[in-house]
């Protein structure tokens, strides 16, 4: 039985619902040494900002129970170098490229999108309004309904490509943000970005991460992420890309059941760079066992 794995997110048609999350695959070159990226739905690039960012000083990461904290600080090569140095390689990967954009002002989001819109190899945009580790531009916007609405509207006005807004879980009602994205013409939301967390060394009484707080990811956040995806799914009619602690195919299926049309793998790439293909294989077996012909049948198939 041939199972139809294709999914549609706005105008974007994906080969299958497995994407690799922004900030966990750089610009594709390292992870492509492990897996054939043309076999997965696509990759989301490390956040691109108008100007290069060197990122935060060490320590940037620490492990926590079933999770990790990171405060990388949106280290990236900047728009110009991305186009000149990274896109030629990304093109060769023969996979769908979703470009993640971070900015510290609405104008900067618009400017980045406008320039990158000219690049045929970029299939869609994911707008990062929820990075917890930089003061300007990240969470400040992600916490503000009006700002998220305006960013969505302005970015949409300069591109016909699919626009996905990456939402923060560090808000009281995430579905309100998804609603604002939809009202302003956004095509989809991805949820969730990391949760703000911290960890201290009890002997030195100092934070383990130089930035003091970091973004929590990994299996520790999966139940929260599932609840957020479900909340959006029950309240807003918009495609959702589920993210948060997916380690195996069961986790991916669970996200689709609670409402996700596709999923992103993040932290697991650090531990098992083959995870994306293993998860696809597992999902295929699951569909066969459950007599599912189209993977889209799974989305929001929860029974409450």
């Amino acid at each position: 039985m041939e199972i139809d794995f294709t999914v549609q997110i706005g105008k974007l048609k994906l080969k299958n619902p497995i994407l690799l999350a922004s900030g966990t695959v750089g610009y594709g070159n390292e992870i492509s040494q492990f897996i054939d990226l043309s076999k997965i739905g696509g990759i989301v690039t490390k956040s691109i900002s108008l100007k290069p960012r060197k990122g935060n000083p060490p320590q940037r990461i620490c492990e926590t129970p079933s999770g990790m904290l990171n405060a990388i600080g949106l280290a990236n090569v900047g728009l110009e170098a991305f186009i000149k140095e990274k896109i030629p390689f990304l093109k060769k990967l023969n996979t769908t490229i979703i470009c993640n954009i971070a900015a510290s002002s609405i104008e900067e989001y618009v400017e980045c999108t406008k320039v990158l819109n000219e690049e045929d190899s970029i299939a869609a945009f994911e707008i990062n309004v929820s990075c917890p580790n930089v003061k300007e531009g990240g969470l400040e916007f992600g916490n503000n309904l009006e700002a998220v609405g305006r960013i969505t509207d302005k970015v949409k006005s300069v591109t016909d490509k699919t626009v996905i807004i990456k939402l923060s879980p560090n808000v009281s009602r995430i579905s309100d943000f998804a609603k604002v994205v939809k009202e302003n013409g956004g095509d989809a939301v991805s949820a969730i970005n990391t949760l703000v967390g911290t960890s201290f060394n009890i002997w030195t009484r100092k934070p383990k991460i130089k930035n003091i707080t970091g973004g929590l990811s990994g299996p520790a956040i999966k139940p929260i992420a599932l609840a957020k995806v479900l909340e959006i799914s029950r309240n807003v009619d918009i495609p959702i890309i589920g993210i948060g602690g997916i380690m195996n195919w069961k986790d991916a299926v669970e996200f689709m059941i609670v409402g996700a049309s596709a999923v992103q793998l993040g932290t697991v790439n650090f531990i098992n760079p083959y995870a994306a293909l293993e998860i696809l294989e597992g999902m295929k077996n699951y569909c066969e066992k459950m007599s599912i012909n189209k993977i889209t049948e799974l989305t929001a198939s929860y029974i409450l």
């Binding site: 750089g26 390292e30 940037r60 990461i61 620490c62 492990e63 280290a75 990994g218 932290t267 650090f270």
Partner: protein, 252 residues
């Protein structure tokens, strides 16, 4: 760079603080160079979640040898492995030491567990290169002499050898060197590397430092292990650009 499921051959204690693990990992063993490292998943569960980086200590045919001390949950699990158990190894990672060039003497400086990468380095030196191994530890229990040559010892408490740190011992001994044509290979805690780096830059010694940093992936995608470039242009990644850096390339 691959992931290999490696069978544990043996596990032994080389002092009260340090363990030696030998695993069968033919592909990585055939590729790995001195100063490179492997990122090891010590359990199948989500605890501990991340891999743990270990310098390659030595290679014997198809087997890799790592030295480690038990200081957290990951190394505690590793210390409980039995022959026949399988561990998941990602490697080889990092750049490794640069052994090329025209030096008569390899000066090894290692602090505590920082001596780990040197047995394999010594094995790979040209036959006519002499070796002096300077090793330091808090006490004599913190010294690792495994497969080193021509050893000079320093301990912080004076329980063995020179009473003081290993960098001071090295400075003491330089005047007795029969050649000035030497290259320093160093690995150890940051304060040790920092004091050595200062002297190396001042005296223009040829000096390579193996730098340690918390990391997740070990191959450049998490960007979790920065070390500051000395030219002011941001950061290198310890895992990918390092872990070996010439002393004048970085700010510790």
């Amino acid at each position: 760079m691959i992931i290999e499921k490696a069978r544990v051959i043996s596990l032994s204690k080389i002092s009260s603080n340090y363990h030696l693990i030998k695993v069968n990992s033919p592909v990585i063993a055939s590729e790995i160079k001195p100063g490179q490292f492997c990122n090891i998943k010590v359990s199948d569960s989500d605890f501990p979640l991340l891999r743990r980086p270990f310098s390659i200590c030595d290679v014997e045919n198809d087997n890799l040898i790592f030295v480690f001390d038990v200081h957290g949950e990951g190394t505690k699990i590793l210390a409980s492995k039995k022959p026949g158990d399988v561990i998941d190894i990602l490697g080889p990672l990092g750049n490794g030491f640069n052994l090329n060039g025209n030096y008569e003497l390899a000066v090894i400086i290692g602090g505590g567990i920082g001596t780990a990468p040197f047995p394999y380095l010594i094995k790979n030196l040209l036959a006519d290169v002499n070796v002096k191994s300077f090793i330091g530890g808090r006490t004599k229990e913190h010294l690792i002499k495994y497969n080193l040559q021509n050893i000079y010892v320093a301990t912080d408490d004076g329980s063995e050898g020179f009473h003081g740190n290993v960098v001071d011992l090295f400075i003491e001994e330089i005047k007795n060197f029969s050649t000035t044509n030497f290259r320093i290979f160093a690995c150890g805690p940051n304060p040790m590397l920092k004091s050595l780096q200062k002297i190396a830059i001042e005296k223009k010694y040829d000096c390579q430092l193996s730098v340690e940093c918390a990391m997740a992936c070990g191959f450049g995608i998490c960007q979790g292990c920065p070390v500051e470039k000395s030219n002011g242009d941001g950061y290198y990644l310890v895992c990918k650009d390092g872990p070996i850096f010439n002393a004048d390339m970085i700010i510790l």
